[in-house]
């Protein structure tokens, strides 16, 4: 079922809305849970955030005016709910907003991340260490790269991060650029 059809159902009432909620849960519930976990929500809290997301989706569905972008709107609600949740738990920094260029430079322009004992590590160990540090500073960007690693389409990634396809390509390119300092120390291991 297409997400726009799910939206049509959710905006209806009665059993149609029930069917829409079920379809949305079946189609996106698992991935939203995964997204929350990757962004730092604890496994025990992820279900609560998902329920909050669905509540806000239903309450806001009649205000949805987009055409053909229901999936992006669902994900926008999910991101906002997660941010609200993390803020309430004190686990949210105003310097950090998922997939927001203007407020996501927590680490600024890292000149080069110093992987501890890099030269004693294998390439994979070194890169893994750098990636962990990168994900700590840029969980949103690490997740975008994870979606790319999963083979997700640009259109799907765009829905998840709330951008156009073109902007998503640029964003991913920026992700690579921002990752670079975190794994730069591993260069010598690659070439040795």
């Amino acid at each position: 079922m297409q997400y726009d059809d799910i939206m049509t159902l959710i905006r209806a009432s009665g059993s149609a809305r029930n069917a829409g909620v079920k379809a949305l849960f079946d189609g996106s519930g698992r991935e939203m849970l995964r997204f929350f976990i990757h962004q730092g929500v604890s496994p025990t809290d992820a279900e609560d955030v998902l329920q909050d997301t669905f509540i806000k989706i239903i309450r806001g569905a009649n205000n949805y005016a987009g055409q053909g972008n229901a999936q992006s709107w669902f994900w926008q609600v999910a991101r906002n709910c997660m941010t609200d949740f993390l803020r309430k738990r004190g686990a949210y920094s105003d310097k950090y907003a998922p997939f927001d260029d203007e407020h996501s430079d927590l680490a600024g322009s890292v000149a080069q991340f110093d992987v501890p004992g890099a030269l004693q590590l294998t390439v994979d160990e070194c890169v893994s260490s750098g990636l962990d540090a990168f994900a700590k500073d840029h969980a949103d960007r690490a997740y975008a790269l994870t979606l790319q690693m999963d083979g997700a389409s640009i259109e799907h990634i765009a829905s998840v991060i709330g951008r156009t396809a073109t902007a998503t390509k640029q964003y991913l390119s920026q992700c690579r650029k921002k990752l670079e300092p975190y794994v730069a120390r591993c260069t010598e291991l690659l070439t040795s």
């Binding site: 849960f25 079946d26 698992r30 995964r34 976990i37 994870t146 083979g151 260069t187 690659l190």
Partner: protein, 235 residues
């Protein structure tokens, strides 16, 4: 890794996505490969901690939404879970349901029929019917709605629930989305992906696999077709 950061994006992201590398020994590919392995390991660890989006979790979700007054509490039918199980079991199998039916135009639908007799008719405006259902103008229960609705088949018989269950399971198993619309007169099954746009009656019947026998028995066949439309069969 000495290249300009945004250079070789295509190669780097291709390697990250696991595509076949055309230059596996380049530093770009090697770095992307290492990042891919690190991302896989990290994702695997995190995913293992994520709660399962199970049917039980969905039930808890529905319960909370009802408690919040956002869903009707009257929907206690357990049809879809049963259908899902049955559909899984039947997936990939082309199925045929034999039904004693008689094709009629909507204007010719009789008000009542004998209990043992079944009827199938075609609705010329399924989208209007769906709109009425969704707007609440019709007393209906919709289980699943499909895009580009092009066809409505309505069935009346003495065991409608069992029939609806059979046909719906078969349709879902065949990858065909359906809407089940319960009315006082019986159940309507709205189906998609079966007929071309603006088909004539003969094309609809042929595409649906409905063939009349001399005795008036109609064979109702659910095709295992993908997509939303199919070419009109040669007549």
């Amino acid at each position: 890794m000495s290249e300009t950061p945004n250079s070789h994006d295509s190669e780097w992201f291709g390697e990250l996505a696991g595509d076949v590398s055309h230059n596996p020994n380049s530093s770009v590919s090697q770095q992307a490969g290492a990042v891919r392995r690190a991302l896989q390991a990290r994702a695997s660890n995190l995913d293992a901690t994520a709660p399962q989006a199970s049917e039980e979790m969905r039930d808890r979700m529905m319960f909370r939404l009802k408690r919040e007054g956002l869903l009707d509490g009257e929907q206690k039918r357990r049809m879809l879970p049963g259908l899902a199980v049955a559909a899984t079991a039947l997936l990939g199998i082309a199925l045929v349901a034999d039904v004693a039916v008689r094709l009629q135009q909507p204007a010719q639908i009789p008000a009542t029929r004998g209990a043992a007799e079944s009827h199938v008719w075609l609705n010329e405006s399924p989208s209007s019917r769906l709109d009425a259902m969704l707007s609440g103008e019709a007393e209906s229960k919709v289980d699943l709605v499909v895009p580009q609705l092009v066809q409505v088949v309505t069935i009346q018989r003495d065991d409608p629930l069992e029939f609806v269950r059979r046909v719906t399971v078969e349709a879902i198993a065949a990858g065909i989305p359906v809407v089940v619309d319960k009315t006082d007169q019986g159940y309507r099954i709205l189906m998609d992906g079966l007929v071309p746009e603006s088909p004539d009656q003969a094309t609809i019947k042929a595409t649906l696999g409905i063939t009349s026998s001399a005795s008036g028995t109609v064979l109702f066949q659910v095709h295992t077709l993908g997509g939303t439309t199919v070419p009109a069969p040669s007549q």
